[in-house]
């Protein structure tokens, strides 16, 4: 049953803990309870997370993540922090992207090296061969041990080892120094953060000057017809899929409700600007079902 929004809902909606009341989907809970409940949600769905993503979004989530990577357009040598990156989707895409860019770079360099001696060519070839990622690195940070476990297993299974590290951490209090990373991404994770403003502040802190903040998240559909179809699909189909595939109705009910509770595009943009990011903008995908927000630390 859908509860009516509680009175404290407006402040809670912005992720600011004005009081001990917060939202968990459409329920009202305290901050601590919310963190715990969300931890339990992801603990229970971790193993079936990827499968559920595919069935809920009919595989379109892969396209969304690809678009995010293209928007980022990372060059070799980029240091990426993927927060709430659990099962590693963004991290693996990053590694693939950077690897192919690096290959193009090396090919171009080879064309320029037409008049080097054999010895010089051999030496540069060795150096470049061992550096297939061009010093790029990605750190996957997640608050949930189960999700990280699934991610590490996937990495092993798919053969990703170089340039990848896994860190247990809370988006509201990252275990990293200031001014470290070139890009900070949070894909489908910021919705589950209890204090969004703190997460945004931490993002600002750990980014280098000139660094980029990218957030991929479910957002609000403005088209009314589409919005109704989307609601129908969300509330009638998704929890059922959750029960059938993952054996967990409640977690997917939470998922759908949390999407409705999340601030819309303009509000999130304002929150990002408040923290100090510049050139903040968003791009709607699929009419606003998903949005990519981007900001720079200048």
């Amino acid at each position: 049953a859908l509860l009516s929004r509680p009175a404290g809902g407006l402040r809670a909606r912005r992720g600011l803990a004005a009081g001990p009341e917060m939202h968990f989907g459409f329920q009202t809970v305290t901050e601590e309870e919310r963190r715990e409940k969300i931890y339990q949600v992801f603990e229970s769905v971790a193993k079936k997370y990827d499968l559920m993503n595919d069935s809920m979004t009919l595989g379109i989530h892969r396209v969304w993540k690809d678009i995010l990577m293209h928007k980022m357009n990372p060059s070799p040598g980029t240091l990426l922090l993927d927060v709430a990156g659990g099962t590693g989707d963004i991290a693996f895409r990053f590694i693939n992207y950077v690897r192919s860019v690096r290959e193009c770079q090396l090919q171009r360099k080879l064309k320029h090296h037409q008049n080097l001696s054999w010895q010089e060519i051999f030496e540069s070839y060795q150096k470049d061969k061992s550096n297939s990622l061009g010093d790029s690195q990605v750190v996957v940070c997640d608050i949930n041990r189960e999700m990280l476990k699934v991610g590490k297993q996937k990495a092993q299974h798919l053969g990703y080892s170089e340039g990848l590290s896994w860190v247990l951490g809370n988006a509201e209090e990252l275990p990293f120094d200031n001014d470290k990373f070139d890009v900070y991404t949070i894909a489908f994770g910021i919705r589950n953060v209890t204090r969004i403003d703190l997460a945004l502040q931490e993002a600002y802190r750990v980014l280098k000057p000139g660094g980029r903040f990218l957030c991929l998240e479910f957002s609000h559909v403005s088209n009314r017809l589409l919005s109704r179809l989307y609601d129908l699909y969300s509330f009638q189909v998704i929890p059922v899929l959750g029960e059938v595939i993952a054996g967990d109705w409640k977690s997917y009910q939470y998922l759908v409700e949390s999407i409705r509770r999340f601030p819309p595009q303009e509000e999130l943009k304002a929150m990002i600007e408040d923290v100090g990011f510049f050139k903040v903008d968003y791009e709607n995908l699929n009419f606003g079902i998903v949005a990519i927000h981007s900001g720079f630390k200048l």
Binding site: K71, M72, N73, P74, S75, G77, T78, D182, V183, D197, L198, Q201, L207, K208, P209, G210, G211, R212, E273, D274, V275, G276, F278, K279, S294, F296, K297, L298
Partner: protein, 286 residues
């Protein structure tokens, strides 16, 4: 006056802190740079409309505002200027912009502020070249006014101006064809056309063209044609110091001068014809 998109004009803190750290580093090479980074308070002028967010406020450093205030546009200009150095190696691409950002101490991700096909970099370069051309022509005009140099005849002036402007392409000549193709993308045509026409207008202005009749359009079109064709010839020219290109330019300008004589003849003939027709019309109506 350009209107900013976001009403509160906030100073860029991170890049400003970087610049101040590097400026102070230049003044006092003995002190360690990391110490300076912490000592120098980040410059920032927070207008009163800023919401009382969790961010610490930097009000109180009022005296330093004017020196360190830099808008996003200015920072973007600095990045693009720094990126030009890397164009011969990387082409007009996001990679060149990323390298440029690195030299300013910014993250390579700052290149994400610009389009990935390098449009802004090319447009920036073109507008910088046009500005340099204007300065050059302005200086020469002053010399003529002061009587220290002779006023050039028009064909020589045009040749000189076009050659000076095209010579600015020489360091980037290998990658210029790529730039031209990007400038022709539908998205960029308004801006590139704008830059081209204002440059041509500038040259005619300094050439002493004050006319406001229909001749203005033809002269603009003629010079644009000369400039574009010469540019294309330059792309394929392998002669020493592009002498083939300058000879081509000389011939085209000579053609244009000859054509303008023909044009004025045609014009007077045309006027005569029109007068004849008007007379006939009046006769018929009466």
């Amino acid at each position: 006056v350009r209107c900013q998109q976001y009403p509160p004009l906030r100073a860029l803190q991170a890049s400003a802190a970087l610049r101040r750290a590097s400026d102070e580093h230049k003044k006092e090479p003995l002190t360690s740079s990391s110490q300076q980074h912490f000592d120098s308070p980040p410059a920032g002028h927070q207008p009163e409309q800023e919401p009382q967010g969790p961010r610490p406020s930097y009000t109180g450093h009022g005296g330093q505002e004017s020196e360190d205030y830099e808008s996003e546009e200015q920072l973007q200009h600095r990045i693009l200027t720094a990126a030009l150095e890397f164009v011969p190696e990387h082409g007009w691409t996001a990679e060149a912009i990323a390298e440029g950002a690195k030299t300013l101490g910014l993250s390579v991700a700052a290149a994400g502020m610009f389009h990935s096909d390098g449009s802004e970099l090319i447009l920036h370069f073109v507008s910088e070249c046009n500005a340099r051309l204007s300065e050059l022509l302005e200086k020469e005009q002053k010399l003529v006014q002061l009587g220290e140099a002779e006023k050039k005849p028009i064909d020589e002036f045009l040749r000189h101006a076009v050659e000076a402007r095209l010579r600015m392409l020489i360091p980037y000549i290998e990658k210029w064809p790529q730039a031209l193709s990007v400038l022709l993308l539908p998205r960029n045509i308004p801006s590139s056309l704008n830059l081209l026409t204002s440059m041509i207008d500038d040259i005619w202005h300094y050439a002493g063209d004050q006319s406001t009749d229909f001749n203005w359009y033809t002269r603009r079109a003629v010079l644009t044609g000369i400039y574009n064709t010469t540019e294309l010839v330059m792309m394929q020219d392998s002669s020493p110091d592009f002498e083939d290109t300058w000879r081509f330019l000389e011939n085209r300008v000579a053609d244009a001068m000859a054509m303008s004589n023909t044009a004025s003849q045609v014009q007077s003939t045309g006027e005569a014809v029109v007068q004849g027709l008007m007379g006939a019309a009046v006769t018929v109506s009466n």
